[in-house]
């Protein structure tokens, strides 16, 4: 065993609380951090504090910003050791997954020093201000604008709204795409701005989905004043930064789906419980879904291996978001089909809690192929960037 692996193993043995060595039993047990952080247990708080102190919530970020300063192969070892003991993620965070990598690439020294350590320690919870009612798949059509205060050119004034801002009602800060130059072309007039959700003029309304309550919100900005130093990169560079960030988001959604299926009851076990394995069509659908999941998991592994050995992801990585979400929809649809009359309940009485969850999950899954870039947009990307099929204008 390498010295590093030994060191990691010993540290985890001494520092990972026993109750943190099993998968979360539900989203209620997740730790998101922030000013209003809620911890399911004292162990959860302790686990975050200890991991954050070593910088291992962000293993590869530089030490100067509170990160772990690990080389990629060391981070892999840490990940393997965490998996080995079934350790929970100490922190779920859009700051870690999305904003941090972008600040490391595009942020100023001041911005990194200010925000990264707080992300590592889970002190500030971030939300993402991207979509608008008029800018979904066509994100660059966004209209939320930021203009310089005529009397104070160190301040931007933001007006407009955002939609689908996950957890905006619980977040402390937002990273937000705004239009700073109305005269520039669609993509070049956009900037990437950071601001405190407690700023005067920010208001948040939660959104109900077909599946019921959701983390999604609509967020409104009415003359919100933001210091000019909070603009990341250059004015007009926002679209480039947004695209870099979306790549992180898509990888995340594909992974999340993969984990989700791993935690669920196997389809065939469910089919046996509901006594439908004798139906040859349902049995074949179960097998088809299982085989497709197997092939997809193998493809994720192949993709990771390719990225590791070649230094960049292969063409197969572009299908992860598309196939992962479509497969998840199919599996959720199959679950309610297996459950029959038990799979159409909305509330108690008359249905068991897990049956109601089945229905909510099925309904929620319909958003998977829309959020984070629709399946149709993913197909466009594959066709144009991977398969070299042009738009006909060239």
């Amino acid at each position: 065993m390498s010295d590093f692996r030994g060191e990691v193993r010993a540290w985890l043995e001494a520092n990972c609380p026993a109750s943190m060595r099993s998968p979360c039993r539900g989203e209620a047990e997740w730790v998101w951090g922030g000013r209003r952080a809620r911890f399911f247990s004292d162990d959860a708080r302790l686990w975050l504090e200890r991991m954050a102190a070593r910088g291992w919530t962000a293993p590869t970020w530089p030490r100067q910003y509170g990160g772990g300063g690990l080389a990629p192969d060391e981070a892999t070892i840490l990940d393997e050791e965490l998996r080995r003991i079934d350790a929970r993620a100490p922190l779920k965070s859009f700051g870690l997954w999305m904003l941090g990598p972008v600040l490391l690439e595009f942020g100023s020294e001041e911005q990194r020093a200010e925000h990264l350590p707080k992300i590592v320690r889970g002190e500030i919870r971030w939300c993402q201000g991207y979509s608008e009612t008029g800018a979904g798949s066509d994100l660059a059509a966004l209209e939320t604008r930021a203009v310089r205060d005529p009397s104070d050119d160190r301040t931007w004034i933001v007006d407009g709204h955002k939609i689908w801002t996950s957890h905006a009602d619980k977040a402390d800060w937002m990273f937000c795409l705004v239009r700073t130059d109305a005269s520039a072309t669609k993509h070049e007039g956009i900037s990437f701005l950071l601001f405190d959700m407690q700023s005067p003029g920010v208001s948040v309304v939660p959104i109900r989905l077909i599946s019921g309550a959701s983390p999604f919100c609509q967020t409104f900005f009415d003359g919100v004043r933001v210091p000019a130093a909070n603009l990341v990169g250059r004015p007009g560079q926002g679209w480039t930064i947004a695209k870099a960030l979306l790549k992180h988001e898509r990888a995340l959604i594909a992974q999340a789906r993969d984990t989700a299926t791993a935690e669920e009851e196997p389809l065939e076990a469910m089919a046996r419980r509901y006594d439908v394995l004798g139906d040859p069509l349902l049995r074949d659908r179960v097998t088809q879904a299982n085989l497709d999941s197997l092939c997809f998991t193998l493809t994720l592994r192949r993709s990771a291996e390719t990225a590791q050995s070649r230094g960049q992801p292969g063409p197969e990585s572009s299908m992860q978001k598309l196939y992962g979400t479509e497969l998840n929809k199919r599996r959720k649809e199959l679950r309610v089909a297996i459950a029959g009359y038990r799979g159409i309940g909305w509330e108690e009485p008359g249905f068991a809690p897990e049956e109601l969850q089945l229905v909510r999950d099925w309904l929620r899954s319909r958003a998977n192929s829309i959020e984070g870039g629709t399946s149709e947009i993913q197909l466009n990307i594959i066709a144009r960037r991977v398969l070299g099929l042009g738009d006909g204008r060239s």
């Binding site: 065939e268 089919a271 046996r272 394995l277 049995r283 074949d284 179960v286 097998t287 088809q288 299982n290 085989l291 497709d292 197997l294 092939c295 997809f296 193998l298 493809t299 592994r301 192949r302 291996e305 390719t306 590791q308 050995s309 070649r310 063409p315 197969e316 299908m319 598309l322 196939y323 149709e376 993913q378 197909l379 466009n380 594959i382 066709a383 144009r384 991977v386 398969l387 070299g388 099929l389 042009g390 738009d391 006909g392 204008r393």
Partner: protein, 368 residues
């Protein structure tokens, strides 16, 4: 790094690709078909490939083989699939795997080196009905003095019309048994089958063929082992055919112009091509996993054989159907190679069990 080809495999792929394009292009299949060639493949080509080690890729070197594994075999047959080569690699694989898995030292001595050298052909004769089955064969092996008498009919015997020997499955009472039968055996009738994809197969009639006790190789376990391995290798060939056909179709989408633009600029076609890309990427992953599993001697080989073949059958068929449609009028002409791929997709889908068969077997192996 099981999924990423290593340097040796990359080199093998390059060699195989160069060789197949020069010595076994699609044009060759077309020529053999049009000439109604009695052999159906190039014997010289097969001996040449045997000299390069392909006739016995998985056979240990001491028996005259290349001593490589299935991962290496997969890399090579993927290239053979690209040109729809009819060379008898699959029949030879089944023959050699049967010998390696169940034969006596004397039997191996008698056959392996010659098969690996490409001078002797050996194949498996198992299927009997209209589709593949692993149930007890109908062909009977009745005990007689010093051996057995075989009676029955075998179909879709790959390269059976030119094979020198067969591994024949039969029922010995209530168990399956495999026997080596020479092509010249008394009571053995061989009739070539003209299959739609121009790959070579034959129908055998065993009318009281006598075999010795020493000709018996093994039972159901050996048969499963041979069929699972052949299924995985065939899936690798199907992957090659699918990828080649997809690339040809993409080229057509980029170059064929209608309404003043390449037809590949139409979103209706782009999305179908992108869907196909996803399906093919999944196929590549499962084929590689199955090949590697054989080399690692893993217990999930039978399940992975089902997984790979189910997907290979469905994906090749989908790709073939899309290729014909996207090529338009020229796609349904005999002049274009696309039709040859379309035909091969149907035949390979049936070989060793189609997708529903594989899914059913996968479910059974998983216990449901």
């Amino acid at each position: 790094m099981a999924f990423v080809l290593d340097d040796v495999e990359e080199a093998m792929r390059d060699t195989a690709r160069k060789w197949t394009r020069e010595h076994a292009p699609v044009m060759q299949l077309r020529a053999l078909r049009d000439a109604r060639d009695t052999v159906g493949f190039s014997r010289a080509g097969w001996r040449e490939l045997a000299r390069l080690g392909l006739a016995g890729v998985t056979v240990p070197e001491r028996w005259g083989g290349a001593g490589l594994g299935f991962a290496a075999l997969g890399v090579v047959v993927e290239e053979l699939g690209r040109t729809l080569a009819t060379l008898p690699w699959l029949s030879s694989l089944m023959g050699t795997e049967a010998l390696l898995g169940g034969a006596s030292e004397a039997q191996r001595q008698a056959h392996l080196a010659a098969v690996c050298a490409g001078v002797r052909l050996m194949t498996l004769a198992h299927d009997e009905g209209h589709r593949h089955s692993r149930a007890l064969p109908s062909t009977t092996a009745t005990r007689s003095a010093g051996g057995f008498v075989l009676r029955g009919t075998k179909v879709m015997v790959l390269d059976g019309h030119v094979a020198d020997a067969f591994v024949v499955s039969a029922r010995d009472g209530e168990v399956t048994a495999l026997f080596v039968v020479a092509a010249g055996a008394r009571g053995l009738g061989i009739e070539r089958s003209q299959v739609v994809d121009s790959r070579n197969a034959a129908r055998l009639t065993l009318d009281g063929v006598t075999v010795r006790e020493a000709d018996r190789l093994g039972g159901a376990e050996l048969l499963d082992r041979v069929l699972d391995r052949a299924t995985i290798a065939l899936s690798a060939e199907m992957l090659g055919s699918t990828v080649e056909l997809f690339e040809r179709t993409l080229l057509h989408l980029r170059t064929r112009r209608q309404f003043g633009v390449p037809i590949g600029s139409f979103q209706a076609l782009q999305h179908r091509a992108a869907q196909l890309f996803c399906e093919i990427e999944l196929l590549r992953s499962v084929v590689r996993e199955a090949l590697v599993a054989v080399d690692e001697g893993r217990s999930d080989v039978p399940r992975l054989a089902c997984a790979a073949k189910a997907r290979a059958s469905d994906t090749f068929a989908l790709c073939a159907a899309e290729a014909v449609q996207m090529h338009g009028g020229i796609g349904v002409t005999d002049e274009l190679d696309v039709g040859l791929f379309f035909k091969r997709a149907r035949v390979t889908a049936m070989l060793f069990g189609d997708a529903p068969y594989q899914r059913d077997r996968f479910a059974r192996l998983e216990g449901y």
